[in-house]
């Protein structure tokens, strides 16, 4: 177990720079999720942590030791790949015992540790099977078993749940989190799924185009997104954005969209005439009398909640309410917005105001 420090890490492929000075500090025992859209560099960063990819600049340290030139086998890390990367010719037991065998541990110790890991992961009855005889979820657990038998300093997970079906993904999410609570080992976890990030992480690192956009606890990112990208990426369904400017009527600041729609504004340092992006999460919009008049486009009832897509001028706004709304497409209803839930971003810099 150890802390991990990623300091000003740069990655170049020839003349193309894909990682632009990434800094992440990971505390001992922390569950950190790297999240971002495809091509944001999150997997590359993880592979650099693992030593599978060289670093073009900066330093990576594991447990206060700089590991830049250290080969993967000497980093004392364990990794779970998206494809699980099980050895097809080895049984479950041999797969899980392989790292210990490579470390030349005595057979009794290997059997004991594999047995214990199999117990934890409910694999004890599958130890003699081959990977091809297992289901996706079982393979996933074998890959995790192979990681935990080593008792490494850091666990690396590269989109481990993407190949599972939706239901199994939820189960495995809980299992991984439980495992972390039990083992208290540092985990770095890569995913493109912001729900996984929100539910599992102690700390989320949101990345885009080889840069860190924001680092913080899941709810911090949800409540105080630092810019438009993070605001749109964290939270599902994603935040509504309306472009407009700050106006002042009788000394009171307000927001007017490019379309002329007036929306309520919280206390803000934004100045009159400033071009801004107005953000409001669908779950923070209510339906009621005296709200902003909108025209219903689509209503999607899911039972527990109702999602309403409605048009206010040219802007399509998405709301989620707990009530069952019987509005028909084309009907006019009112969207109620509490100014406290509004996020304002500068339109030019896309930064939070």
């Amino acid at each position: 177990m150890a802390n991990v420090k990623i300091d000003n890490v740069i990655k170049r492929y020839g003349a193309v720079q894909v990682m632009h000075g990434v800094d992440v500090d990971i505390e001992h025992g922390e569950f950190v999720v790297l999240v971002g859209p495809s091509g944001c560099g999150k997997s590359t960063l993880l592979r650099m942590l693992a030593g599978l990819e060289e670093i073009s600049g900066g330093t990576i340290s594991i447990g206060d030791k700089v590991v830049n030139g250290v080969s993967p086998k000497d980093r004392d890390i364990a990794m779970v790949f998206q494809s699980y990367a099980l050895y097809p010719h080895k049984t479950v037991g041999e797969n899980m015992g392989f790292p210990l065998k490579m470390a030349k541990r005595p057979k009794a110790e290997i059997d004991e540790k594999v047995g214990r890991a199999a117990e934890i992961l409910d694999l004890a009855h599958l130890l003699d099977r081959f990977p091809k005889q297992l289901s996706g979820g079982q393979r996933q657990r074998v890959a995790m078993g192979r990681a935990i038998v080593r008792d490494p300093q850091v666990f690396l997970f590269d989109e481990p749940l993407s190949n599972l079906d939706a239901k199994l993904r939820v189960t495995m999410r809980v299992e991984i989190k439980e495992l972390h609570q039990r083992l208290q080992t540092t985990i770095v976890y890569v995913t493109h799924d912001q729900i996984e990030a929100m539910t599992m992480a102690d700390k989320i690192v949101v990345m885009r185009d080889g840069r860190v956009e924001q680092i913080g606890a899941p709810l911090d990112l949800y409540d105080n997104p630092g810019n438009v990208f993070v605001a749109g990426f964290i939270g599902s369904p994603s935040m509504n954005f309306v472009h407009g400017t700050i106006v002042s009527e009788g000394g009171v600041k307000g927001f007017r969209s490019d379309d002329g729609l007036m929306l309520p504004l919280p206390e803000t340092t934004a100045t009159e005439g400033q071009a801004v992006t107005y953000g409001i999460r669908p779950e923070h919009i209510g339906v009621g009398e005296g709200g902003i008049p909108v025209n219903v486009v689509v209503v999607e009832p899911t039972g527990s909640e109702t999602q309403i897509f409605a048009r206010a001028g040219k802007d399509l706004i998405d709301a989620i309410v707990k009530d069952r709304i019987a509005a028909r497409p084309g009907a006019e209803i009112g969207f109620v917005i509490d100014p406290a839930n509004v996020h304002l971003f500068d339109r030019a810099t896309e930064k939070r105001i």
């Binding site: 693992a50 030593g51 050895y87 080895k90 080593r150």
Partner: protein
Amino acid sequence: MHSKRLGWLLLAPTMIILFFFGVVPFFYVIWVSFHQWNPFAANPGKIFNWAANYRQVVFDAQLLASLGVTFAFVFFAVVSELVLGYLLAQAFMKDFPGKAFFRTIHTLPLIMAPIIVGSIWKLMTTPSIGIIPNLLQSWFGYNLNIGQSALAAFTVTVVMDVWHWTPLVTLSLIAALVSLPPDPFEQAQIDGAGKRQIFWHITLPMIAPAVVATVFIRLMDALRTVDEVLMLTGGGPGSATRYIGVHIFKEVFPRTNYGYGSAISVVVLYLTIVICWLLYVGLIAPRNTKKG
């Protein structure tokens, strides 16, 4: 029903050809092997003589000697081809300037007829005019004469076979290596395996089916080598390179001893099957039963 009949119809030409050029000659050879048949003897017809030919096979000292050198030849040739082929395949997996060019010229021996290969090597190894004896003489002072030294002749036939057939091994191993998923290899690095351990624990088991298939092909080919060796050494000096194919050829053609030649062929076929079966049982079957 209709599609099934159409299937047989489409297969029919191949099956008819295979029947007449494969199945019929096979049984004909077996049938002939039970006869005494020498068309240039006083009695040129086939005379049924039970298993006399097989009895002769068992007591044929020349044949046993021939089998001995054949196995030595096959062993050294196939093992060298496998090791060299794997190393070349690994080299061709990497990127280097001129890779496509080298890969192409390295496969050229494959498309050459064995008789041509034999001729080339004969020219290259003939003392006084061949490049190989000349270079060996001027560099190491070694006098290579495959017409006199049994060991030299044997070695040159092995080298010739390696030269001719290594590209086949390389190609099939490249195909096997290319099709391997990269993840288990990265995983093995993380799991603490060094290069050698990765080879023994991951690479080799994962390409084993391709390796075994290649060994089977090379084994069967090497066991029936005739033309190259016949051209190069004629089976000599003495009977140092009188491999089983050469031996059969000499029994059947110059001596026109058809019945006996057929009997040896059947025995060699049987031996080939036994060797392949042993290899299969030893290498492939344990993996399959373990999986069951």
